[in-house]
Symmetry: C2
Subunit: 315 residues, 2 copies
């Protein structure tokens, strides 16, 4: 028996047939085209699943369930996507829509939770029961696995770790509050921090790294300028890493997970990111040396986390 995982994103619908260990047998994608309305998107999701089943020479009866991960707020118990901003969907019954075409159990959850589940089963957090996966991207995505299961709270909306305050009344966050972790530790925040430093320091090599056009600034720019020997860029990187670290200490004090996996493009910086973070955590975490400490690692599944985790979803 196999499972199908679907990663419903703003630009593409990705799907894969996945075995129980999290190994992908086959994967494929089609454009989302959400402007066509949710019914067309749901039909394409179902057709993509059927084509994968066909290509593998499997039958629907070889598939146990379908899982769907997508940004937004899910009603997990009913398989309904309550709200998704960038797909323009509201109260879409994904379970019922998919079951029009394929009569299999359908489970849904948000993309950050799904990625955390994937890492916990076959990624950087495998062989642990309690883990947290943090994805530093446009926002700060997060999922918490407790005793092998995704933690959702009583309304399935928990584990929004990007939306705890790092600095009350600080930077404006997209959620409406000021000072959230996301407003300091996301890739978006790093880009803003890099641009601000460039504007304040006209002689910084950040300008060289972005070819004198701030529109070219990415989450890599400050690290690139630092490698060119630029002190301003170095300060931007150090401070950004401190922001990440401060939130990680909070997460450790709150959850004490066996392991935390960090994901997102910025993790390509490797030891430049991880080493000072480990040092920061060791220095500031609440528990002292007598108590076993959470490990910090880089997430492993990258773009596959969405389909693998979705395939692993259960009730």
């Amino acid at each position: 028996m196999y499972n199908i995982g679907i990663d419903l994103g703003g630009t593409a619908i990705k799907a894969a047939i996945v075995d129980d260990s999290g190994k992908i047998l086959i994967k494929d994608k089609v454009p989302t085209g959400s402007e066509r309305g949710y019914e067309a998107v749901m039909k394409d999701m179902a057709m993509l699943c059927l084509s994968l089943i066909g290509k593998c020479g499997l039958k629907i009866s070889d598939i146990r369930k379908i899982g769907v991960g997508c940004p937004g707020t899910p009603d997990k118990s009913n398989g309904i996507l309550i709200y998704n901003n960038n797909l323009g969907m509201r109260n879409v019954n994904i379970r019922k829509e998919l079951q029009k075409y394929i009569n299999l159990p359908v489970f849904i959850d948000n993309d950050a939770n799904v990625a955390a589940l994937a890492e916990s089963i076959s990624g950087a957090c495998r062989n642990t029961k309690d883990s947290v996966t943090i994805t530093l991207g446009t926002g700060v995505g997060s999922g918490v696995v407790i005793d092998g299961k995704l933690y959702g709270g009583f309304n399935y909306a928990a584990a929004e770790l990007g939306h705890h305050t790092l600095i009350m009344d600080g930077e404006q966050c997209t959620c409406g509050r000021k000072g959230c972790y996301e407003a300091y530790a996301s890739a978006t925040a790093l880009i803003a921090q890099t641009k601000k430093a460039a504007l304040e320091h006209k002689d910084s090599k950040i300008w060289e790294a972005c070819k004198n056009d701030l529109d070219n600034v990415s989450a890599r720019t400050a690290f690139e300028a630092e490698r060119m020997g630029d002190k301003v860029a170095s300060m931007v990187c150090d401070r950004y890493i401190r922001y990440i670290g401060e939130g990680l200490v909070n997460i450790i004090n709150i959850f004490q997970p066996e392991i935390i996996a960090l994901g997102g493009g910025v993790c390509n910086e490797g030891a430049r990111l991880l080493d000072p973070l480990k040092e920061y955590i060791a220095k500031y975490k609440y528990t002292k040396e007598e108590t076993p400490a959470s490990k910090l690692v880089i997430a492993e599944l990258g773009n596959d986390a969405g389909v693998v985790g979705a395939a692993m979803l259960t009730e």
Copy 2:
């Protein structure tokens, strides 16, 4: 069958025989006298249990287990108090010490966790599966109950919600970091905020409320001065409540518990505290109106939470 709960505090050892519903049959206390060394304290704990059993006309075989709650870091699986600052205890095997006198299963946990368990079983959070109890006292104590069980993380040290940042690099916290929730929302913090406001405003009625002696300032003083019509005190209260609220929003975004119980003396302020907190949470929580919202209530068990929760401890 009954359970015994022991609340091992800095000044007193309290103990009670408690039934499975959390009802206290009998309770009593003796001075801790920790300066005598841990063996004398452990013996007194055991003797107190035996005297309660005798007074009730019960036998040891009528008791299922003994639970002990105390400040500090427990090793729950081995019943060892790893570290307790104000009792001066380090690596005390409470289980083994008590079993020298009474051959019953012994479980331990820290006092904030024990209080949260008590509230979830027979206090303000009864009939819920997921709850958080926050105690605003000398520090900010907290316990998280998930699916009816205390959440401890992989090392039993989790749920230190008082030690997440409200303002990075802000007020010095006792844990060594700066800007923790505890440094803004504890009763200790409110006292400091009240004193500071008094020093900055010599005409404030805070002075009248503390009889012109800042050593008299308690967590009630600012609220009392506010009732005298003092604007400065009112500002102190508003800001303190905002600090509490900011952390509660974080806790909701992170855990989405069905219910949060607030404890500690300051909760005697009732609606003056609770109403603006509810408003603040409704305004700033991450989830919007489509998603069921966590309830906020005042903890109910007060000083009994320690013995009741300890009696309810399990493996």
